[in-house]
């Protein structure tokens, strides 16, 4: 059976709550069957609204949402067959774990034996077998979260929506749950639409990530591409760390351009600049700049160390470079570590291909 690349389709969807401001603007998004897609963005960017429209709790102001080729905008939530994991789990506090999981099956009039089997299976999937008779209040946060995931999956929905499900967990638990959800997704192949504002969570779990800002999808690509090749300065800024230079293009070739900064010039990779005279923001990942480069590099400058912060596995160094004192370097913590001291001068170099000239901020 071939996978449908347009299993879920947002077709020119607009959403406005008050008739004045568009929360979601002309959204065009295709989600393939079995895919794990994450909607990532700052709060107020419209990602949760998209999820709620897909779940059926909000209706699009304009445009259509299609599920497996059928328009679902007029189908009420309970008939969509979409599982959902809520931010605060939304477990029914007056029901046991078993009853919580049996709820979606009972309303579907599934036979008692079948319910027992399915609940058993779902609980073992989240490694909570034996917890059937517990009440939600007797479970820890992580366990409640697993029950919520199991409940969203127990009736074999075609799509599962997750609305910041790990937001309330502490850091370690959150990380282990990320892997667990990813593994569950891989083993049962359900389509997952995941909403989060945590970029590391998105990078860890997703097949593809849709970065939302201002009601629009800024970039839709796999995690590696998103990090390595951001298409605009918002994405570059939002995903990972990022050194920026603001300047003006003074010369442009096919894969290189010269950018004039306040008092120097650098070579960069022209991504969204087309011609001379355009304003641009050059983005460079901290780990792409090398200290004391041995090979010849396109850009080589000397900077002064302003601050050294020890982070365990790496050391962050803040430099005053090219007139900006916000230039960050990440130095891996290895045995051949350099002596880094404040107010010391060091040589820095990077290649023009890693310095992406994007739209101006």
């Amino acid at each position: 059976m071939s996978k449908n690349p347009e299993f879920v389709k947002f077709d020119k969807v607009d959403k406005s709550y008050d008739g004045k401001v568009l929360v979601v603007k002309d959204l065009q998004l295709d989600i393939a069957e079995g895919e794990f897609i994450t909607m990532l963005g700052p709060s107020g960017s419209g990602k949760t609204t998209c999820l709620m429209m897909l779940a059926g709790f909000e209706t699009p102001t304009h445009g259509e949402i299609l599920l497996d080729g059928n328009i679902i905008s007029n189908i009420p939530p309970h008939k969509r067959g979409i599982g959902m994991v809520f931010q605060n789990y939304a477990l029914f506090p007056h029901m046991t774990v078993y009853e919580n999981l049996a709820f979606p099956l009972r309303v579907r009039k599934v036979e008692k034996d079948e319910i027992d089997k399915k609940v058993d299976k779902a609980l073992s999937m989240v490694s909570l077998s034996g917890f059937e008779t517990r009440m939600p209040a007797q479970l820890s946060g992580g366990q409640q979260q697993r029950v919520a995931v199991a409940r969203a999956l127990v009736f074999d929905p075609a799509v599962v929506l997750m609305d910041e499900p790990l937001g309330a967990l502490d850091k370690n638990l959150r990380e282990s749950m990320q892997y667990e959800i990813k593994h569950i997704h891989e083993s049962i192949g359900v389509t997952v639409v995941y909403v989060t504002h945590d970029q590391s969570e998105a990078l860890t779990m997703s097949n593809r990530i849709a970065v939302f800002n201002d009601g629009k999808v800024q970039q839709l690509s796999n995690p590696a591409e998103l990090y390595e090749k951001p298409v605009n300065s918002f994405v570059a800024e939002f995903i990972g760390e990022n050194n920026t230079f603001n300047g003006e293009v003074i010369d442009i070739a096919k894969d290189k351009c010269k950018v004039k900064l306040a008092n120097s010039e650098i070579l960069a990779n022209p991504i969204s600049v087309k011609s001379k005279g355009e304003k641009t923001t050059v983005s460079l990942r901290p780990e792409r700049a090398l200290i004391n480069p041995t090979d010849k590099m396109d850009n080589m400058f000397t900077g002064k160390i302003e601050e050294v912060i020890y982070h365990g596995d790496h050391t962050r160094v803040r430099l005053n470079l090219l007139g900006s004192s916000e230039f960050i370097l990440k130095v891996p913590n290895s045995t051949s570590n350099l002596e880094l001291k404040v107010s010391q001068d060091i040589n820095i170099g990077w290649n023009s291909v890693d310095a992406r000239a994007l739209d101006p901020k």
Binding site: A55, G56, F57, P76, P77, H78, K79, R80, G81, I82, G83, M84, F86, Q87, N88, A90, L91, F92, P93, H94, F103, P104, V107, R108, R151, A152, F155, L161
Partner: protein, 421 residues
């Protein structure tokens, strides 16, 4: 802790428990002093009056104190079907003579007359004989008194006196249930056409039950709206709910009288839209309808507020979860939302029912004859007949009833499940 575990000592060698008690003693005293004023207030205004009420309701010492010699002599009266022996007559004569000297004989006559009709006449007759000194104390008093009136020769009258001997009596409680002690001391029912209290008790329960039911059906949607509407609308609605709270009970009841009377606004409206004929206006006041309408409106906030406070705590995502998992809106409501509101329902119903069962002013004003409750009867005996002991007895019966309801509720739902806010 098992008994084998070693006692833990502090560094000074004092047992830990002793040290802990010492440390907490100060706090305990402080806490007690803080609640002491309230405790004192409750004792003075609540526990003591209830105790006094109870004493009043069972107190029957008046005759006991008036006829000490009689009752002493009556201890030797063995065959109760025959007239008592001479000693009893003598004792009664001496007691009565003393009362007559102190001008207390009238009270006794009235009290005994309540026990058995006709006592007033024969005690007055005895009083006149004593006053005229017509009675020869050296001769047989039994014969002389028996000669005064044929009722003195009737053993039932002497039995009636004997019945008043115990200093305490439950007769007021029996009267509250339309029963009395018959001549032979057994419990008998009042004639059917004279049973008013049982009707009142049943009516009180019925009205309290239906008022609670109406309050629930009207209050639940309001509370739900209050809990789910956006702040600016819900505040306005909350004020609408609370406004009656801030208005005097009397004013509200009076406005219901203006609305519901036969020439009132509601009736005028019905006539205007042609629902009823002008000469056939329904009576909506001075009957049960008036009591139901006015009491439901007045007690509604007591239902809405506990419900609201419970509903406010129910996350809206629970209903969404119910729907997204495949439940229709009704199923999601019935299986998810409703069970979570039960603590509020319990609190609201209990509150409204208990308030309704003892309601007084509203039924008194709009209830008429068929809409009055037991509390109106209590007030009647307090103010009009001045039979305070009977009023106390009925008040205590009401209190007991409320406690019984509370107990049943606790058995069914559990008081821990009540949420008042």
């Amino acid at each position: 802790m098992s008994s084998e575990t070693k006692q833990i000592l502090t560094t000074d060698g004092i047992p830990l428990e002793v040290s802990l008690k010492k440390a907490e003693k100060k706090n305990k005293i402080k806490a007690f002093l803080l609640v002491a004023p309230l405790l004192l207030f409750l004792v003075i205004t609540y526990i003591f009056p209830i105790g006094d009420m109870f004493m009043r309701s069972v107190d029957d010492r008046m005759v006991t104190n008036m006829l000490p010699k009689t009752f002493k002599a009556m201890e030797k009266w063995e065959n109760l079907d025959e007239l008592p022996p001479e000693e009893v007559y003598r004792g009664f004569y001496e007691d009565y003579k003393l009362l007559a000297e102190n001008q207390q004989h009238g009270k006794l006559g009235q009290r005994l007359n309540k026990e058995k009709n006709g006592f007033n006449t024969i005690t007055k007759k005895l009083f006149r004989q004593i006053k005229r000194k017509k009675i020869d104390e050296s001769a047989s008093l039994k014969e002389q008194i028996n000669k005064l009136h044929k009722r003195w020769r009737d053993v039932e009258y002497w039995q009636a006196i004997k019945r008043t001997a115990p200093p305490y009596t439950a007769s007021k409680y029996l009267k509250g249930m339309d029963m009395y002690f018959a001549a032979d001391g057994s419990i008998a029912q009042v004639d059917e056409d004279r049973r008013i209290h049982r009707i009142l008790w049943l009516r009180t329960l019925e009205i309290a039950f239906f008022v609670t039911l109406f309050c629930f059906f009207m209050g639940y949607p309001i509370a739900h709206l209050l809990a789910t509407l956006p702040m600016k609308y819900s505040n306005l609605l909350m004020i609408c709910v609370l406004l009656p709270f801030w208005t005097s009970l009397l004013v509200r009841t009076a406005s219901w009288m203006i609305l519901l009377q036969q020439q009132g606004i509601v009736n005028d409206f019905f006539v205007m839209i042609g629902l009823v004929a002008d000469d056939n206006r329904p009576e909506m006041m001075y009957n049960k309808v008036g009591t139901y309408v006015a009491m439901t409106q007045i007690l509604l906030p007591f239902m809405v507020l506990p419900l609201y406070s419970v509903m406010k705590t129910i996350s809206p995502s629970l209903m969404r979860a119910g729907k997204s998992l495949g439940g229709t809106p009704f199923v999601a409501f019935w299986k998810v939302y409703f069970p979570l509101t039960i603590p509020g329902i319990g609190a609201g119903c209990l509150l409204v029912f208990i308030l309704a069962i003892g309601y007084y002013i509203t039924p008194a004003l709009v209830g008429g004859a068929s809409g009055t409750l037991i509390s109106n009867q209590i007030a009647f005996h307090m103010k009009t007949t001045l039979d305070w002991s009977f009023a106390s007895a009925m008040g205590l019966m009401l209190l007991t009833g409320v406690l019984v309801i509370y107990w049943i509720y606790n058995k069914l739902v559990g008081v821990d499940n009540i949420k008042l806010g």
